[in-house]
């Protein structure tokens, strides 16, 4: 084996030159690009994560809104039910009181009519009885009894005054 010692230095110098040229003109820009891409991927992953979080939040909000809406609907129905039952009660109540009132009125009217009829009847009866009495009296009252009657009346008048 024949070693040429100058090769050692040739290789040394050549490799150092090659290394610095590569470093300066090839690797540095390449590493820069790779670093940039790494940053980009990180950023995108970050934004994807953020988006997902936002989406989750939105879903949560939607869920809550839905829950809220459902609750409100339920409340409204409940309210309506209460109102309607109250109205029904009211109507029934009103109807009942109205009917009571009507009944009362009717009763009063009947009472009044009855009273009127009774009064009329009384008047008529008294008239008739006077008539009947006068008829009877016309036939039966003699001198004697007439005198007694007058006296009695006078007596009564005297007593009363």
């Amino acid at each position: 084996m024949n070693i040429v010692w100058s090769n050692f230095f040739v290789q040394l110098v050549a490799f150092l030159i090659l290394f610095f040229l590569l470093q300066r003109f090839a690797f540095k820009p390449l590493f820069g690009i790779m670093e940039k891409r790494r940053q980009m991927v990180l950023e995108q992953m970050d934004s994807a994560k953020k988006n997902r979080e936002e989406a989750d939040q939105f879903i949560e909000e939607q869920k809550q809104a839905l829950q809220q809406a459902r609750k409100e609907a339920h409340d409204i129905i409940e309210q309506a039910r209460i109102t309607s039952s109250r109205q029904a009660d009211d109507i029934i109540q009103t109807a009942r009181s109205e009917s009571d009132r009507l009944k009362e009125e009717a009763r009063r009217e009947i009472e009044a009519e009855k009273n009127k009829a009774l009064a009329a009847l009384k008047a008529q009866v008294s008239g008739l009885s006077v008539l009947i009495a006068s008829k009877i009296i016309e036939k039966q009252v003699d001198e004697q009894s007439q005198k007694e009657l007058v006296e009695q009346y006078l007596q009564n008048v005297g007593n009363k005054s």
Partner: protein, 259 residues
Amino acid sequence: MKGVKSSNMDHLVPIIEIFGIEFDLSAILMVIISSIIVFVLARLAVRNLSVENPGKLQNFLEWVVEFVQSIIGMATDFKKGRIYTGLGLALIMYIFVSNMLGLPFGIVTEGHEGQTVFGQELVVKEAHDHLAWLWWKSPTADAAMTMALALTVIGLSHIQGFRHNRKHYLKHYFEPWPFFLPINLIETAAKPLTLGLRLYGNIYAGEVMIGIILGMGWIGIPALLVWQGFSIFVGAIQAFVFTMLTMVYIGQASIHEDH
């Protein structure tokens, strides 16, 4: 230039002498070619950088980056070892391309004694009946060059260990007891040797083997196909191993993990 000759081992290394220093022209050529291929590949990959719509080459290079980062993650603490991504990337690309270069073909020139290149005479040390120079080979099939890579990263690991992890770095030479110092020093010396020579041995052996198979003539074609396929595998594995061990050594020396 002619095709591949009978055996790799007959070929000479094209060496010229300048100021008394021998220069291996084929090594210089291949280092330059490998570096240019790696650099052009990297530049093409980052030509139209895009965050959202990366091109095919950019995707590929990013895959390599992630691969290197996973190596760092396996070898040491990723957060602290992250700054060595560029080094690991340069190493794995350069070594892989270098390992692959020697596989598909070879370039051999024949000539006569006193052949000149750039006005310089190619050095011929021994007498040969015919002269053929091998110009095309893997830069990593040369021990001096793999050792250069290995010493670079091991040196870096010691420097970083001393700078960022001084207490533990200095203490580890005396672990578990002070008289282990020689053993620890041997280990320190062995690290770059094993790192460099492992790469060299694997790739050089692969190329020698290709040369031998070529010597078998046309019968060797299926074997050559199989061996080249295996060499691609070996080349990739060695690039991976070299990068992995680099990160392990740097991590051991400079990154102290709290236990």
